[in-house]
Structures are given as structure tokens and as C-alpha cells.
């Protein structure tokens, strides 16, 4: 009896609580959506504005403050056509492709082999070496480019895409090795014991078991190596001086900027075209991209 009375007394406050809970939830949801819309506008405004500019004629750009700069009144593809027709620009593209493909291939071979050895084979000093790999990742390219400039120069590779292929692995290998160690470590140890009993040697174990099982990690690492090589800026800026050897990033920044104000349309078109490959990779492989991004820190 007393129990039911107490329950009755509590009822109104429970209902009140429930009502405020629902209101609180709704408010949280609205504030979340408003923040996200606001953030999305800011995050997407620069690329959208670049796209608009790239679709404008020089005349429209010169006149844009009199109407609105955030809209295209007479869209044209002439900026893109001009770039694609431009041999130098196509050269930038091929240089980027060449360097990136080579660097990604070299990186993946080096880091998968090393990560397997460090993560699964456990030999003397492997633990310290894994930490060393991580430390290397903390050394930025802007600390190394001056001595590397001297070293690459003494090898006669300044102003050559080969010089870039030589130094880009400093950007990619440590992180890729690090995330591959994490992926390999997450595979249960019974799996290699089973393979050992089944009669596999180390190379068979790596090739037939570990690479297929860690495939998501390998894709994530490959994407990382690709985006980093494609976006690299410090090394090509320092080492490459002639347009024939320039990759995309430095090519667009250094060669498309002219005194002539009205080349903005072409500059923006060039920047967007140069940014396209990583954006496409991101659009199609977003989950792997994000997995690679977060693996580095959550694994370590």
C-alpha cells in the first residue's frame, strides 16, 4: 500500500522528466544539424568557389564584384579546355602519375615486408625498431629538405623526377609501416600457428595468409601513400626548378600564377584538376581512407 502510494507520488515527476528528456533530445538534434550545416557551408565554400571561378570567363571575373562573385552567370569550360590542351600542364600530370605510382609501389613493398617482420616475427630489437619507425614519422619533411637538397644534389638528381622518387618514401614509409604493424598485430596468433602446422614457410604465410587477411589495412596504407605522394609540396618546391620535371602541385602553384590578374579562372581550374585524383579516391574508398587515418593514432 505504502509502496503504491509512493509510486503515485513519483508519477508526475517521472512524466515531467520524460517530457523534458524528449525536449532535450529534440533540442540536441536540432543544434547538431544547425552546427553541421554551418560547418559544411564553411568547409565546402572554398572548393565550391574555386569551381565557380574555374567556370567563369576572364571578363566575368574582372566584373564579378559588380554582381555576385558566388555565382556563375555564363558558365564556360574554356579554362579546362585550355589546360588540357596545354602540353606543359599535361606534363605536370604525367610527372605526378609517374612519381606517385613508383613511390606507392616501393612504399608498399618496403612497409609490408618490414611490418610483417617487426609485428609477427619478433626478433632481437624488433620492439625498439618499431618505436624507431614511429619516431621517424614524427620528423617532418621541412626539417630534412635542406640536407636532402645537398644529398640529392650530390647524386645529380636535383631537378629530376627520380630525385623525388628517392626522397618521397621518407614521407610515406614510416606511417605505412606503422599502420601495417597495427593491422598485422590485430590478426590472432593462432592463425600463424595454424599455418605453421599446416606447413607454410614465412613467405607463404605472409603471401597466402597475412596479406589477404590484412587487405583492408593494405588498401588504407596504399591510399595514404598515394595521397601523400600526390600532395607532396616541400620536396618538389625545393628540388625541381624546370617546368618539364614538375609534378602537379608545384606546377600549378608556380607556373599558372601570372602577373595577369585575369588568369584566375585557369588557375582555379588547374588547382581543381590537380586535386581531382585524391578526391576521386576519397569518394570511392572513403571508409578505407578514414580507417587509415584513424589507425595511426588509435593503434598507437
Amino acid at each position: 500500500m505504502s509502496a503504491s502510494a509512493a509510486a503515485n507520488r513519483d508519477l508526475p515527476s517521472i512524466y515531467h522528466k520524460a517530457g523534458s528528456l524528449r525536449a532535450e533530445r529534440r533540442w540536441a538534434l536540432w543544434s547538431a544539424y544547425i552546427s553541421l550545416i554551418f560547418a559544411a557551408i564553411i568547409m565546402l565554400a572554398p572548393p565550391v568557389y574555386m569551381l565557380m571561378t574555374s567556370l567563369k570567363t576572364s571578363a566575368e571575373i574582372a566584373d564579378q564584384l559588380n554582381s555576385t562573385p558566388w555565382w556563375v552567370y555564363s558558365p564556360t569550360l574554356e579554362n579546362y579546355a585550355a589546360l588540357i590542351g596545354n602540353e606543359m600542364f599535361r606534363g605536370f600530370f604525367w610527372n605526378s602519375v609517374k612519381v606517385t605510382v613508383l613511390v606507392v609501389a616501393v612504399t608498399m613493398v618496403i612497409s609490408v615486408l618490414a611490418a610483417f617482420a617487426l609485428g609477427r616475427m619478433r626478433f632481437w630489437g624488433s620492439q625498439a625498431l618499431a618505436t624507431g619507425v614511429f619516431l621517424t614519422y614524427l620528423i617532418p619533411d621541412t626539417l630534412l629538405f635542406i640536407p636532402l637538397y645537398q644529398i640529392v644534389g650530390s647524386l645529380g638528381l636535383l631537378n629530376s623526377a627520380w630525385g623525388l622518387v628517392l626522397v618521397y618514401p621518407t614521407l610515406t614509409v614510416p606511417f605505412c609501416t606503422w599502420i601495417m604493424i597495427g593491422y598485422f598485430a590485430s590478426i590472432p596468433k593462432e592463425l600463424d600457428e595454424a599455418a605453421l602446422i599446416d606447413g607454410a614457410n614465412w613467405m607463404q604465410m605472409l603471401w597466402k595468409i597475412f596479406i589477404p587477411v590484412a587487405l583492408p589495412g593494405i588498401i588504407a596504407a596504399t591510399i595514404f601513400a598515394f595521397t601523400v605522394s600526390w600532395a607532396a609540396f616541400v620536396y618538389p618546391t625545393a628540388f625541381i626548378t624546370t617546368p618539364e620535371e614538375m609534378p602537379m602541385t608545384i606546377g600549378v602553384v608556380s607556373q599558372l600564377i601570372r602577373g595577369d590578374t585575369f588568369a584566375w579562372g585557369q588557375l582555379m581550374a588547374g588547382a581543381l584538376l590537380a586535386a581531382l585524383p585524391p578526391v576521386i579516391v576519397y569518394a570511392f574508398l572513403m571508409d578505407y581512407y578514414i580507417a587509415g587515418l584513424t589507425a595511426g593514432a588509435t593503434k598507437g
Binding site: 593462432e190 600457428e193 595454424a194 599455418a195 602446422i197 599446416d198 589477404p212
Partner: protein, 366 residues
């Protein structure tokens, strides 16, 4: 087919911790031996030394008469089933089972014949094209066993293979493992912490504790004639009751003085055996099923006394009664029709034909 000999095997880790402290064990051809014990008792380490996954610190292990201490796992001709199955997630069931044969360069049709045969034994033929992810726990377990069977090895090694299954499936797979063993008759070493599994599967059970073997023997022998207090307590569920008792000599017969003023006469045929214990503090051991409601009272050596139930657990075919006795937790197994309720004294009968007397100093059963 082969026997396995373990001679004076020691496993010491860095820092001198000994996981296995010099054990001897002979496993006959076709035999099914279960290593059982609490976690950290060295049973898994022993199994992994047989497999070649752990180095042997000293002593030797022979499979089929060949000392294998220095032979890598792949050349020992053994197959192992792991607790988490260790199926290769990217391969189909067929490829999982065929992997060991493929690496050993068996001809294609021979591989297919063996895999099909194993699949038939294990009843997994319809699953051969699936990936492990698409299988239930029990099916994965079967595949893991299939992977062992196709190899037709000298020895099967099982490392707690049923621990990841739910209770019902575990019982089912237990029968399955026994069936497979009866079909292929391969020498088997099986590790588990579950004494029921050990009892049901084994030809011989090896009870291990703290890196040493406590007792080896057929399940019934371990159950009825444990040689140490550890084995007595470990085998059987609910566990044997251990009650402190003082052994007293009175005119040619021995008596046990239990707490609560209970006095039990030692059966005459055991007087000789327990003579040395006279006048000492001992531990009286009796299994719950030998401490029941009064019945068979016309037989020899049945003693009755009253105890107060604290908790009553009806199990269906029997009822477990936890009784209060000073200094000991006592469990009795009674017929469910016997009326019992907490707090009301219950008359129980102890069947002293099945009693044990343990020396608390040495831990040995007299």
C-alpha cells in the same frame, strides 16, 4: 598413427618461471588422452610443446618413436584444433581444409577426395564453398576439425576447442569429437579446463596442477580413487565435500570426530588403511551423491545425522542442498521428492563405503 612419449619435460620461461616442471607421460597409439586442470597449470604449454609451437627447455618428446624436440611443427606430422578455430578468414571452407595439403603439394584429385571424405564425416559437405564468416560457431568448429582430419596426421592436438561454444552446442560437439575419434582412431591429445569434457571424452585423463601431473588414469578411476586432494576436488561436480575431522582410536575401531559433534564410525575394512592417521587432524572427503536423504539404511556403513539446510537448489532430477556445518560448506544431493526447506533440520545419510580421508599436510588421499 603413433604413440607420444613425454619424458621429464620442463618448460621454463625467461626469469626462471617454470610452467611445466618435469612431467612424464606415455600416450598409446589410438588413445584419446585429455589434459585437464585449472588455467595456468601447464596443460596448454605441454600441448604446444608437442606441437612444436614452444621450445622444450629440457627433457624430450617423441612422436611415433622419433624424438621431435628439434623438428619444426610442419615436419612433426601433427594437426591442431585451436580454441578460436584459427580458420583462414579469406578462404572458403574447402580451401581452409585443403591448405595444408596444397602446401605439401598433394595432387588435386587426392586433395578433393580427402576433403570430401572429411566433409562427409563431419556433415559439412553443403558448406564447402562458404567463407568462415558465414558459419556458426559449431560449423566453424567442424571445419577446424576437418582441417585436422584431411591431413591424416599421426596425432591430433586439441587446445580447448569447445570453450567458445555455448553450453548446448558444447555437449553436441563433444559427442561429435568422440564419434570422429572412433571413426579415424588417430592418437589424440586434448586440452581442457572442463572436467566434464575430460571425463566424457577421455580414454585416460591427465590431471595437471602447477606444472606437475597430479594423477593419470581412466575417468572412473579418477572419480572413485583420486590420489590427491586436488584431484578429488577437481573431478566431479558439485565438488567433493571436505570436512575437517579428527581420527580417534576406540577399542580396535576408528572414529571420525566431525564439527557439530558428529561422530562417524570408519568402516571396518578401512581400519588397517587409516591406522596411521589415528589421533591426527585429517580431512574427511565425501561426494554429494554419497550424502543423501536416508536410504539403503540396511546396508553396512551408512551413518545418519542431522544438518540444517541453508540453500536449496532444485535441479529437476535431483536437488542440491547446501548444509551448514561449522568450518565447512557441505553439499548434499537428495531426491527431489524429499521435503527440505531452509532452516529446518534435515536428516542425511552418509555412505561411508565411498568416503576418503586426506592428509592435510601432504594433500594425499590415504
Amino acid at each position: 598413427m603413433a604413440q607420444v612419449s613425454i619424458r621429464k619435460v620442463v618448460k621454463a620461461y625467461e626469469g626462471g618461471v617454470q610452467a611445466v616442471k618435469g612431467i612424464d607421460l606415455e600416450i598409446a597409439d589410438h588413445e584419446f588422452v585429455v589434459l585437464v586442470g585449472p588455467s595456468g597449470c601447464g596443460k596448454s604449454t605441454t600441448l604446444r610443446m608437442i606441437a612444436g609451437l614452444e621450445e622444450i627447455t629440457s627433457g624430450e618428446i617423441a612422436i611415433g618413436g622419433t624424438v621431435v624436440n628439434d623438428i619444426p611443427p610442419r615436419d612433426r606430422d601433427i594437426a591442431m584444433v585451436f580454441q578460436n578455430y584459427a580458420l583462414y578468414p579469406h578462404m572458403s571452407v574447402f580451401d581452409n581444409m585443403a591448405f595444408g595439403l596444397t602446401l605439401r603439394k598433394f595432387p588435386k584429385d587426392e586433395i578433393k577426395r580427402r576433403v570430401d571424405n572429411a566433409a562427409r564425416i563431419l556433415d559439412i559437405t553443403p558448406l564447402l564453398d562458404r567463407k568462415p564468416k558465414a558459419l556458426s560457431g559449431g560449423q566453424r568448429q567442424r571445419v577446424a576439425m576437418g582441417r585436422a582430419i584431411v591431413r591424416d596426421p599421426k596425432v591430433f592436438l586439441f587446445d580447448e576447442p569447445l570453450s567458445n561454444l555455448d553450453a548446448k552446442l558444447r555437449v553436441q560437439m563433444r559427442t561429435e569429437i568422440k564419434k570422429v575419434h572412433q571413426a579415424v582412431k588417430t592418437t589424440t591429445v586434448y586440452v581442457t579446463h572442463d572436467q566434464v569434457e575430460a571425463m566424457t571424452l577421455a580414454d585416460r585423463v591427465v590431471v595437471m596442477n602447477h606444472g606437475v601431473i597430479e594423477q593419470v588414469g581412466p575417468p572412473q578411476e579418477l572419480y572413485h580413487r583420486p590420489v590427491t586432494r586436488f584431484v578429488a576436488g577437481f573431478i566431479g561436480s558439485p565438488a567433493m565435500n571436505f570436512i575437517p575431522a579428527r581420527v580417534e582410536n576406540g577399542s580396535g575401531a576408528l572414529r571420525l570426530n566431525l564439527p557439530n559433534g558428529i561422530v562417524l564410525p570408519v568402516p571396518a575394512d578401512r581400519t588397517q588403511r587409516y591406522a596411521a592417521a589415528a589421533g591426527k587432524e585429517m580431512i574427511f572427503g565425501i561426494r554429494p551423491e554419497h550424502l543423501t536423504e536416508p536410504k539403503n539404511l540396511d546396508r553396512d556403513n551408512i551413518a545418519t545425522f542431522d544438518l540444517t539446510p541453508e540453500v536449496i537448489e532444485p535441479m529437476g532430477m535431483e536437488t542440491l542442498v547446501h548444509l551448514w556445518l561449522q568450518g565447512a560448506e557441505v553439499c548434499s544431493r537428495i531426491d527431489p521428492t524429499t521435503p527440505a526447506e531452509p532452516g529446518r533440520p534435515l536428516q542425511v545419510a552418509a555412505d561411508l563405503n565411498h568416503m576418503h580421508l586426506i592428509d592435510p599436510q601432504t594433500g594425499r588421499v590415504l
